[in-house]
Subunit: 203 residues, 2 copies
C-alpha cells in the first residue's frame, strides 16, 4: 500500500516537473522504482533451470554497472553444472549463508587485481563489483527470478573455499556468490526507509 502511494507520487512529481503528462516516462520510472523497492532476498528455488539467454542477460546487466576510471576490474563465474553446484553446497566454509540444494545458478562476482587500478585506487574494485551485483539482483527480480547475495570478501575462509572450488587465480578475489533461481518462496519485502538516516545539507 505504502509503495503504491510512493510510486503514484513519483508519477505526479514527474508530470509536474515536465509540465506535460509524459505517459511513457512516468511508466518507466514507476516500473523501475517499484522493481527496486520490491526486490528481496530469495533463498528457496523450485529447481527449474535458468535459461542460458537469461543467464547472459544477468551478466550483461552486471557489466553495465559504472566503474571507477572505467577499469571494469571484474570477472564473473556462472555456475550451472550440477557437480560444481553440489561442491559449493557441501563446502563447510560456506555453510553459513550456503548454496541451497535446489539452486540452479550461482554467479560469483570477482574482482581482478590485474584489471584494477594500482595503489590505493585498487580498492575501487569493491565498489564496482558491488554495483554490478546490485544490477544482477535487480535484473533477476525483474525477470521473475529470486536471488540472494552471499558473502565472499572480506571473509578469508569463504574466499579460499571459492578459490579452491572454482580454480580462481590468486589475483582474483570473489566479492560474493549470488544464488539465483525461480522462487519457491515469497518472502515479505523489508521496508528499510528511515527518515533519521537522511540529513539535509549537513550532518
Amino acid at each position: 500500500m505504502r509503495l503504491a502511494i510512493c510510486v503514484a507520487a513519483i508519477g505526479m512529481a514527474m508530470m509536474s516537473s515536465c509540465g506535460t503528462a509524459e505517459t511513457q516516462s512516468v511508466d518507466k520510472a514507476s516500473v523501475v522504482i517499484e522493481n527496486i523497492m520490491t526486490r528481496k532476498s530469495v533463498r528457496a528455488y523450485d529447481g527449474r533451470e535458468v535459461e542460458p539467454k537469461v543467464v547472459e542477460t544477468l551478466l550483461r546487466a552486471g557489466m553495465a554497472a559504472p566503474t571507477a576510471m572505467n577499469r571494469q576490474p571484474w570477472d564473473f563465474v556462472a555456475v550451472t553444472d550440477k557437480e560444481v553446484l553440489e561442491k559449493l553446497a557441501a563446502e563447510p566454509a560456506l555453510s553459513r549463508a550456503p548454496v541451497s540444494k535446489n539452486c540452479p545458478l550461482v554467479i560469483v562476482v570477482c574482482g581482478n587485481m590485474e584489471k584494477a587500478a594500482e595503489g590505493k585506487g585498487q580498492e575501487y574494485w569493491i565498489h564496482d563489483t558491488s554495483a554490478a551485483t546490485e544490477n544482477i539482483l535487480l535484473a533477476a527480480h525483474a525477470m521473475g527470478l529470486g536471488a540472494v547475495w552471499c558473502a565472499g570478501q572480506p571473509n578469508e575462509d569463504r574466499i579460499e573455499a571459492l578459490r579452491n572450488v572454482l580454480g580462481l587465480p590468486s589475483y582474483v578475489t570473489p566479492l560474493n556468490l549470488i544464488c539465483i533461481g525461480y522462487p519457491a518462496e515469497e518472502p515479505a519485502v523489508k521496508d528499510k526507509w528511515k527518515e533519521e538516516n537522511v540529513h539535509y545539507n549537513k550532518w
Copy 2:
C-alpha cells in the same frame, strides 16, 4: 540496436519459461533491463531544481538495497542548499571529479561505523552503500535525471574534505558523492559487455 535485440530476447525467454505470454512481466523485465543498460554518467545539468519528492524517492531507492546481516549501516546527506553546493564545487581536494557549477543536488552516501558490524564484517558497509548508490543512479536515470558517482572512500583527501564541509562525525565515512540534475548533455552509452569476462563453471 544490440540492446533492442537483447531486450527482445529476454521477452522471448520469459514467455517460453512461463509457458504463457505474461505481457505484464515481459514489459517489466524489458523496462528494468533497458534502464540498467542505458544508464550512463552525466556530468552537466541544466540547473533546474530536483523536486523534494523526487529527492525522497532517490533516498528511498537507496535504502531499499540489501545489506549484510540487515545492518543498514548507512546515512545519506542530501545537499540542495546553494551555499553548500558552492563549497563542494570550490573544494580543492574534490577538484578531480568535481561538483559542477550547475549541479542542483548532491547525495553523499555514507557508511556509519556505529551501525556497521563489528570486526572484519565492518567492511561490508562498503558493499552495502555501493549497492545503495547503484539503486540511486538507476532510479535517477529512470526519472529522467542524470547522475555521476564521484569517489570518496578510500581517498583520504576526499573523505576529509567531505567531512569538513558537511560536518560528518569521525565514525561516518563518505563512500562517495553522487551529483544529480536534469541533463544538459546526452553522453553515449558505453557497451562494456566482454564475453571473455565470463567463465562457465570454473575459471
